[in-house]
Amino acid sequence: MTPMSAKPLSLSGQLFAILSSYGLAITVLSFLLIDTFLGTISQKDIGLLDSQRIYFDSWWLIHDVNLGGTLIPLPLPGGGLLMVILFFNMLCGAVIRMRKGWRTMGNLISHLAILFMLAAGFVSFLYKTEGAMPLFEGQASDQYQSYHERILEVHRYDASGKGDDKALIIPMKHFADLDPGKARTFFAKDLPFEILVTGYQRNANVVQAEDGDKTSIDGYRIQPVKNAKEDEGNVSALEIAVKSKDAAEQKAILWERAQEPFTVKVGDISYAISLSRMKWKLPFAIRLNDFVRELHPGTMKAKKFTSHVTKISSDGKEEPKVVTMNVPVRDQGYVVYQASFSEGSSGEQSVFTVVTNPSDQWPLWSCVAVAIGLIITFLGHLVRFLKRPLKTKTA
């Protein structure tokens, strides 16, 4: 068939041809390699969370290339975008377009498994929660606190001081962009006031304001501090103004390290407003009974941390469990790992990491499926090779 006789492709056909091309696969994989390299190197300067956010969770990014002291901004596609393109590239090129048959079955299984792994990453990105649950011996809890996600929380208390079962929360992504000078107003149908949020600082102290400081609130002001290398070390702060029709505006500083919330009273009802890390509730509670720390002889190097805990179900049923390094407790979609420990005047505190991820086991299944696909492919090649008739060398 000559090029002249070829039927021109429709727009969707052209798009499919691009999406399923080897050229796109090579381009995407090359950029992924560059992003992975730059993102890994940048961890030493900006920490794990920021490098992950900038290089791997993003649609696009600008990397500053240092050329003899001159910074050249280099725009690059982000890891998020590349993985979405890779997904469709593999779906179109290695699944839809691939010739289906016994010979290609192994290949098809492997590619489907890799797509499944990419989907697992996407589900994890959207739905995974991870946080810490520190417990002293004898203490119980059924909630874990995020390492990174901050929230602005409004919790309502009635005249007797009883709090509601749920608190209203504003996620960090709705106020983290509010640098000094930028503001956003939040409202809710059950709230008798609106909250104007401004002046977010990712890492800050709250200090006593100088006399005559017009920016001070209740005699205090936010003092920005250089961001900690790892986000866990940052203590954020922001300013709010509570506005209602019937009362004068009330301003307050909210600080992650504040010991108590800011209270707004409307009639007999109190509203506790605070800036904190996101907390998630577990469907069961954990009580730490005993924490055992084993060290390598003659050193302070940890050999094994073990927490003897009791799992308390919602119906009150108690069940002893042991959480130790690399041996987590799994229950109802939650995984409780032994993370670290601390020792203070109040005794030993065991720190657990709690994770819930709907796609927790998907990468494992994916790897098994990839292996099966590869085995089928290699065995097929081997069988075909062995069946090939031997050619005799002729002189």
Partner: protein, 207 residues
């Protein structure tokens, strides 16, 4: 006529387009936003202290004290950094005041209190005979006066009241703890007053 394969390709292209639109438009922030998300409160979560003062919130409380059982905290002010009430109808009050200028010295303040209770003024000699009590490590004069109490700005005096307090000097500043209320109620709360005085401590301020 479209074949199943071309229809699949077209659907896929549309899916890509829709996905890219969905990703670019989700979670858009605006100047006014409704709070729609909630979180469950755990029964294990400690109940916060409502109506906490900024000093308490920011861990910058210079004064530490224990509120005696049955007493309640009232609204604080710059003049009254500790302000407590007691009694069935909160008829009794007890507060700590710190005045940078000292408000005329110990004798002037003791006599001001006596005047509020409609009692004659004391002389320096009388003052020297009054008992002493320690307030945050400083020796102060312990005053007990019975009479009809006229609070600042009150239109008339309340009969059968007791004022009990300590006047101390810290450099040029005056330090006062004053408890006042119906005589029987104040008498019944003298032990609680002593407990409150003993618990009062000054903390090094946050740098």
């Amino acid at each position: 006529m479209s074949t199943p394969a071309s229809r699949l390709k077209a659907s896929l292209a549309h899916l890509c387009l829709l996905l890219s639109l969905a990703f670019s438009s989700c979670d858009r922030v605006s100047e006014r936003m409704e709070i729609t998300q909630t979180r469950d409160i755990s029964t294990y979560e400690a109940k916060p202290k409502l109506n906490a003062y900024p000093q308490e919130r920011f861990g910058d409380e210079r004064l530490r004290w224990e509120t005696p059982a049955g007493w309640a905290q009232a609204e604080r002010s710059q003049m009254r950094p500790v302000n407590l009430t007691f009694g069935p109808n909160k008829e009794g009050e007890c507060y700590l005041a710190m005045l940078p200028g000292g408000a005329g010295g110990v004798l002037a303040n003791v006599n001001r209190w006596r005047k509020q209770m409609a009692q004659p003024e004391l002389t320096e000699e009388d003052l020297a005979k009054l008992p002493q009590k320690t307030l945050m490590g400083i020796q102060g004069v312990y005053v007990t006066v019975d009479g009809a109490y006229t609070n600042v700005g009150a239109p008339e005096a309340k009969p059968d009241q007791r004022l009990q307090g300590i006047v101390a000097s810290l450099g040029e500043a005056g330090l006062f703890v004053k408890m006042v209320g119906p005589k029987a109620l104040v008498e019944a709360n003298t032990a609680a007053f002593d407990q409150f005085i003993a618990s009062l401590k000054l903390r090094t301020p946050q740098q």
